[in-house]
Each structure stands twice: as structure tokens, then as C-alpha cells.
Amino acid sequence: MAKKNKNDSMDSAPKVKLGTADYIIRGIGYVFISIFAILCILPFLIILASSFETEANIVAKGVTIWPREFTTRAYEMVFKGGTIWKSYGLTIIITVLGTVIGLFITSMMGYALQRKDFVLKNVLSFFVYFTSLFQAGLAPYYLLMTQTYHLDNSYLAILLPLLTSSWVIILMKNFVKSIPYEITESGKIDGAGDFMIFLKLILPMLTPALATVGLFLALGYWNEWYQDSLFLQQKEVVMLQYRLYKIVNEASSLKDSVAGQFVDYSDLPSESLKMATAMMTTGPIIFLYPFVQRYFIGGITVGAVKG
């Protein structure tokens, strides 16, 4: 961060006369970045506005970026029955549990793997890395999860497989590398065990790394729909994004395909209900991400190449 600020202040420093080419490039910069940035948030403005629009208006005139008639009916429908709160509860519990447990697993291994004096350093590094080199594929995984572990229709099928990954362990390892080995050594001299060194000396220094890795894990859990679609098809209460997935897919794929012409979709979920559900399932992310994005940026730059 400090480095960035230094550079920023230097941007304006050169007392060199700018030529036409510079102004053109700068102009293109402002125009391109503005348009792209607006395009990035426009779809969100559309669902936000349309979620407050009346169903009749959407059907007759299409979605909008400003509600023509303001109504909260769609949100009332979303909350009706209260199962959305159960989905919220489930998503929050799994996200928190998974992130905390996952962070613990990831940071312990990340620390051990970069200890020069760890006897299994290379063996285990390969053991972890191999999982990203070669995978069994979906079918064997699906059969194992359902027929050997019997995790179908169990929330463990969401919680467990996302706890860690070779990518986050390598990311964590790269973060731990920046902590000087002398810290570990000083702990050893004081007679502390490896776990105590990790817990008391290393972990407190890892706060930014824990925030970064934790946020990657948490985002993965919050946006989870894939494992749900594999294993939780029979469950009534599902993760938020899979709930959205189900609501959307009951209607949309039929509606615009040829087959849809023969389907009576008067009782299918309404457009505004879809928008309101989309807002409810993603709202927390939209509100939170501006405050935590710097941790992601840190993670991307650390993990980009070796990951």
C-alpha cells in the first residue's frame, strides 16, 4: 500500500509538457474506463429497480433501470413462508463454520510446508500440488460422495469439499514465506513446541493473510450452488444461490425455448420475484465487497503466478 501511494504522488510530479498524444490516451482512458465501469454495475441496477417494479409493468414494458411504479410486493412474496430465512441461516452457518475450520486447516499446513526444517516438506508439497494437476473427474467423485460416503442430502456435502484447496494452501504458504524464519527460531530457543510457535508467534503475524484466504473461502461458500445441484436436490432448505438457481430455472429455460410454448407458465415464479430473490441472495456481497476488496487484490497479486 505504501508503495502505491508513493507512486501515486509521483504521477503528478513530472513537470513535463503534455503533448496531444498524451491527452488523447488520457481521454481514451477516461471514456473506456467510465463506460466499462458503468457496464459492470448496470445489470445490478436493472435487477434492483425491477425488483421494486410491479409485475404487470415488467410483463408489459420489460425490465427497467428506474421503477415506473414503486412496490415492495415482490419482497413480501420472497419473505412469505419464511423459508428464505432458513436458507439465510444455513448459508451463514455453513459459510462461518467452513471459513473458520478451513482457515485453521489451511494455515497450519501452509506454515508447516514452508518450514525449511520440516522433514516431509517436499513430499507433502507434491501431495497437495498433485491434486490440482490430476483429478478423477465428476463421475467418480459423484459416485464416491453418494455411494461410499452417503453424503447426498447432507449439508456436509457442501461444508466439507470446500474447506480448503491446493490453491489456497499454496497462497497461504506464499504469505507465510514473508515471515522471517528467525521468528520460528526464537520460539524454538525459548523451548516452545511447533504448535505453540504457530499459535502464539506466527498466527498473530498472519492477520492480513488470514483475512485474504478467509475471504476467498467465505466467498466460495456464499456463492456455492454447484455442490448443492449435485447432492441437495431433494432438500427443502438449500444454500441461497441454489435457491435462486431453482427459482430461476423452474421458469426461464422453458419460457424462451421452443418447448416452452406448450407449457402453461401462469403459475411459474414471477419476474419481479426472481429479481427480489436475486437481490436478497446477493445483497450482502454487494454491500460488503467494497470494504474487503483490497484483501482480494492482495491475494490475487500474491497468488496469481504461482497458483
Binding site: N7, D8, L18, G19, A21, I25, R26, F32, I33, F36, A37, C40, P43, F44, I46, I47, G62, V63, T64, I65, M108, M109, A112, F118, L120, L124, V128, Y129, F134, Q135, A136, G137, L138, A139, P140, Y142, L144, P161, T164, S166, F195, L219, N223, Y226, Q241, L244, Y245, S253, S257, V258, A278, T282, I286, Y289, Q293, I297, T301, A304, V305, K306
Partner: protein
């Protein structure tokens, strides 16, 4: 005899030393244990199940009780032309993604650096980063809201301008372009972070010196910024090539996955495997295609790593 004895003694000593070292490292090993168990349970345990690709899977008999049929599952998907179609689509999409991703990300990063107002830059960077944080399910919803023929935003705009509305969800033709644009929309904010960081890392004195020497903005980009980004670009391109047979399942599935009219022409390996597993319960075919994909992916990563080792040894993975 004597020689063998000495050798034995050396082996024993070696073993003892290893045993001692393992004992010394016991706490660290224990600390790795949860992660080791995790990878065994979810990454290594599925490996024997690959055998299902070589059998005619029978639900009651299980994977290892089913009849072994050799490579017939592979022959079936290869002869029907499916394998070639899936491979071609997956690789073509990835090639386009890789080239455009990096082109757009580098351009965005360079232009972002040209923006002098810090507030403007911060706000626009934050806005561009938003699509990275949302689930692929929501991406599907957003795209549908914009493109569908009845209520879509695009058609509202077209109609208000007096044009003919498009029915994009009945016509597969434009979808390769749409998928590519959505992919760029979602990933550029993320991809440009690395390049932006690399540009920020360029020695400012070099840039200033060039400006003093009378370089204009374009020359500065052409002769200083781009050359210093070159290693990053090369490395990221190479690693992306390593994943060239891995498709972005979430994106494709949520945009076109359940609409046969749309997905047929853009079908990728992951979608086929997913459909075969979840919808058709055809585990043997799914696994055959999955194994084929894993093997090519494996060879690709090894090849790429070999190249990286030669070009930029510091960046090689192993």
C-alpha cells in the same frame, strides 16, 4: 561380506536418522493431518473410481463389480463425434478467452494508470471488480434480464428506438459472442489487478526520464510499460494454456446449460460430463470423457511447466 555389512549399517543409520527426523517433525505432521485427510477424502479417494470409465456400469454391482469392457466407452464417444466436438469447443473458447482476457486486462490496466484522479480511479476499479464477486447463477439471471425477448432490457431499448426485438434465446448463432462478452465482463476487473500491480511496480524514474527526454504518452506505453509487462504476460499466458481443456462450467451452464437449442453448438466437456452424470446417470461415459480431459490437462501442464522452466526458471511450478 564386509562391504555389505557397512552398507547395511549405512541404511540402518539412514533409517534411524529419518525416524528421528520424523519424530522431531511430529507436531508439524500432526498440524498437516487435517489437510492430508481432506485431500485423501476428496481428491485421492475418487481416483480408483476412474475405473468406472472402463466398465459397463451397473448400479447394483457397483463400480468394481461391473463388467469390464476396456476402451469401449471411449470408442463410443469418439466414434459418435462427441469427443471431437467437445474438445474443439472447449479449446476454441479457451483460446479466445485467453487472448482477449489478457488483451483487455492489459489495456484496462494501462488506461487505469493514465487516470489522474485518484477518486475516479478507485471508484471505477471498485465498480469493475463487482462482477467477480457474484455467483454464476446470478450472472445467468443478469444476462437473461438483459437479453430475453419478452421483458429483456436490450429489447426494451431496441423497441423504444423503433427497431425489431431480438429473440436471442431461440437462436444459437450469437451465443459464442455473448458468452465471450459475459466472460470478459466478469473477469476483466480481476485479471487487470495483476497487470495494474505490475505497472505500479515499474520504476517511476524510468518513466519520468523518458518524459523528460520528450517521449509522448504512446511512446511511453510502447517502449516502457509494455516491455516491462512482458514477463507477466508471458507467464500468465503460458499458465492459462496449461488449463486449455478446462472449461468454465458455471458460466456456460448458467447461460445456456439447460436450453438444448443454445447449448448444442457451444457444448463444452464439463457440460457434457455434468449432464451425463446428473441427468442421464451415465457414469461410465461421463468418466471416460472426464479421464480424457484430465489426461490432456495433465500433459498440458507438464508441457507448459517445461517451457516456463526454460523461459523464466523462477516462475516454474516444480
Amino acid at each position: 561380506m564386509a562391504g555389505k555389512k557397512i552398507q547395511d549399517a549405512a541404511v540402518v543409520r539412514e533409517k534411524r536418522r529419518l525416524g528421528k527426523r520424523l519424530f522431531q517433525g511430529r507436531t508439524l505432521i500432526l498440524m498437516c493431518l487435517p489437510a492430508i485427510l481432506f485431500f485423501i477424502a476428496f481428491s485421492y479417494m475418487p481416483l480408483p473410481g476412474i475405473y468406472v470409465a472402463f466398465v459397463k456400469y451397473n448400479y447394483r454391482k457397483g463400480i468394481f463389480g461391473s463388467k469390464f469392457i476396456g476402451l469401449q466407452n471411449f470408442e463410443f464417444v469418439a466414434q459418435s463425434g462427441q469427443l471431437w466436438r467437445l474438445t474443439k469447443n472447449t479449446i476454441l473458447f479457451n483460446l479466445v478467452f485467453i487472448i482477449l482476457d489478457n488483451l483487455v486486462a492489459v489495456t484496462t490496466a494501462i488506461l487505469l494508470k493514465e487516470i489522474q484522479s485518484k477518486a475516479f480511479r478507485k471508484v471505477s476499479q471498485t465498480m469493475m471488480f463487482l462482477p467477480y464477486f457474484i455467483s454464476q447463477v446470478l450472472v445467468g439471471v443478469l444476462v437473461f434480464n438483459i437479453l430475453n425477448s419478452d421483458t429483456g432490457f436490450l429489447n426494451s431499448v431496441i423497441k423504444s428506438l423503433g427497431g425489431e426485438p431480438l429473440s436471442l434465446y431461440k437462436n444459437a448463432g450469437p451465443w459464442p459472442v455473448i458468452i465471450t462478452l459475459v466472460h470478459l465482463w466478469q473477469k476483466t476487473g480481476y485479471n487487470s489487478v495483476v497487470y495494474f500491480a505490475a505497472i505500479m511496480g515499474i520504476d517511476q524514474e524510468v518513466i519520468e526520464a523518458s518524459l523528460v527526454d520528450g517521449a509522448n504518452g504512446w511512446q511511453k506505453i510502447r517502449f516502457i510499460v509494455l516491455p516491462s509487462l512482458r514477463p507477466t504476460i508471458v507467464i500468465l499466458l503460458l499458465f492459462a494454456l496449461g488449463g486449455i481443456v478446462k472449461g468454465d462450467f458455471g458460466l456456460f451452464w448458467n447461460l445456456v446449460g439447460r436450453n438444448p437449442v443454445l447449448y448444442e453448438p457451444v457444448d463444452i466437456i464439463e457440460m457434457f460430463v455434468y449432464r451425463s452424470t446428473i441427468s442421464n446417470f451415465n457414469f461410465s461415459t461421463a468418466s471416460a470423457v472426464g479421464l480424457y480431459q484430465s489426461l490432456i490437462g495433465f500433459i498440458m501442464v507438464l508441457t507448459v511447466n517445461g517451457i516456463v522452466k526454460k523461459v523464466e526458471p523462477d516462475y516454474s511450478l516444480f
